[in-house]
Assembly symmetry: C2
Homo-oligomer: 131 residues x 2
Amino acid sequence: MKLQPIGHVESPLTDRSAAPKQADEGAPEALLVFAPEYARAMRELREGQDVLVLTWLDRADRSVLAVHPRSDPARPETGVFSTRSPDRPNPIGLHHVRITAVDGLKLRVAHLEAVDGTPIVDVKPVLGAER
Amino acid sequence: MKLQPIGHVESPLTDRSAAPKQADEGAPEALLVFAPEYARAMRELREGQDVLVLTWLDRADRSVLAVHPRSDPARPETGVFSTRSPDRPNPIGLHHVRITAVDGLKLRVAHLEAVDGTPIVDVKPVLGAER
């Protein structure tokens, strides 16, 4: 059960603590840069499509089982399977993004909350959109 | 980038070739059975909730980069990042399910297309449903 990076995120976000918690909270544009060996797998991805991007949140704490949502101590501690906390046993990030440009092995996407250098592990159609 | 199984699927589906390709195509009820060390992480999961379940599709062929969608040779070969093919570089399954019962470390879910024994790697709120 070993993931292989298929690419990485290029983003102006470099500090996890400064990153927005959700894509719709001011997350910046980012580039998804794929390794050349995956060119065939991405060939039908197009500008204007919505896709799911799976990342490996390599700065996460995998021992965490419960968190205060949004790091707000006033909120009751909640099991991580009911939150989007990056700190969790298997820190896979799931991001719904819109492709705004395709340039060879690079996809430009709007509003991604992952930090610079985050490994990409998969891209999938949004659920229900593809058969 | 090593995943640890947090539980596994118990399902009447035992044969990948006989499994439905999508949850809404006759996929049966299934049990998600978690390892005891993750009890705290699942504590707020409740009957009636919709969640995303991430699995490791351990019978997948990771060398596949393009497929004929729905295994239909009449359909043009398509890069796997534009399909839900289990055969892909990192075979993470993503399943939107409804929890129909909670019993300790077991969650019963409606309509899961993963086969018996599939490792579970994460559970997340559906996108947009949780802050």
